[in-house]
């Protein structure tokens, strides 16, 4: 049975948000954009990697590799 790809899509979306906030911060550097990147951006990036790892584990489990 194949694992649902929803977590993967959410993970990609979160990472895109994190990268967009990082580019915004480095291009228009101000306390506000920096707070946005280091607060929300890194949180999105961290959550994205966590979701991706969970997806990989679930996928490997469904293929009886794990």
């Amino acid at each position: 049975m194949r694992v649902k790809t929803t977590p993967l899509k959410v993970s990609a979306g979160l990472m895109l948000t994190a990268l967009a906030l990082m580019l915004l911060c480095l291009t228009w550097f101000s306390p506000r954009t920096m707070a946005l990147f280091l607060g929300l951006g890194l949180l999105c990036g961290g959550l994205s990697i966590l979701l991706f790892l969970l997806y990989v584990i679930a996928d490997l489990h469904s293929r009886r590799i794990l």
Partner: protein, 197 residues
């Protein structure tokens, strides 16, 4: 590695990661294969993770400059004083005589200990949060006692310091019975208005 090159690397990797990930989403329905798995791993975790690492490092490096400290309007009096040719404050004398070449605010407000830079960066993040949530009072005051060992880190072995401070004074400074500001003040100008913003 200079700040500029670190920032450029962060921007380039960030844009590459963004474009790669956007492209990956466009070709989302490609057939399940080992190549797809590697592309997903590279596009969602590895390249963006690396870009975020460079990006956060570049942002923190950039935030060490006095210009960044001055971008919060509550710091205006301190930054104006730094550049005022008539000012006699310790901060302005250090700044104008280039006793510290760059990142002047950060250099004096960071402890020379193993965790000093980490502590300073966490403090900076707290300042950002308090500024954005308007959770601060004017006049701005230094939180907790200042670590005068930071002054001694540069001045402690200087010839002029050793000539003008005899062994007794040096002992008192080391034991923290007296501080540098007992004789050399003020360090910053007084901030006039009062109240919560």
């Amino acid at each position: 590695m200079t700040n500029l090159s670190l920032e450029s690397i962060a921007l380039v990797t960030g844009m590459a990661a963004f474009c790669f990930l956007a492209g990956l989403i466009l070709f989302w329905k490609m057939p399940d294969s080992p190549a797809r798995h590697w592309l997903l791993l590279f596009g969602i975790a590895l390249l963006p993770g690396l870009a975020l690492l460079f990006g956060s490092r570049a942002a923190i490096e950039k935030a060490k400059s006095p210009e960044f400290c001055g971008s919060c309007h509550v710091m205006d009096p301190f930054i104006t004083d730094l550049k005022d040719p008539k000012s006699q404050t310790l901060a302005s004398r250090h700044y104008q005589n280039r006793y510290i070449l760059e990142n002047q605010c950060y250099t004096c407000h960071t402890d020379y200990t193993v965790f000093g830079p980490v502590k300073a960066k966490l403090t900076g993040l707290r300042h950002l949060w308090n500024y954005e949530t308007r959770n601060y009072r004017i006049p701005i005051k230094h939180r907790g006692p200042y670590n005068f060992e930071n002054c001694l880190h540069c001045h402690g072995q200087a010839k002029i310091f050793l000539e003008k401070h005899d062994a007794d004074v040096r002992k008192q400074l080391e034991s923290k019975a007296v501080t540098c500001l007992d004789c050399h003040a003020p360090v910053h100008p007084e901030q006039k208005s009062a109240g919560k913003k």
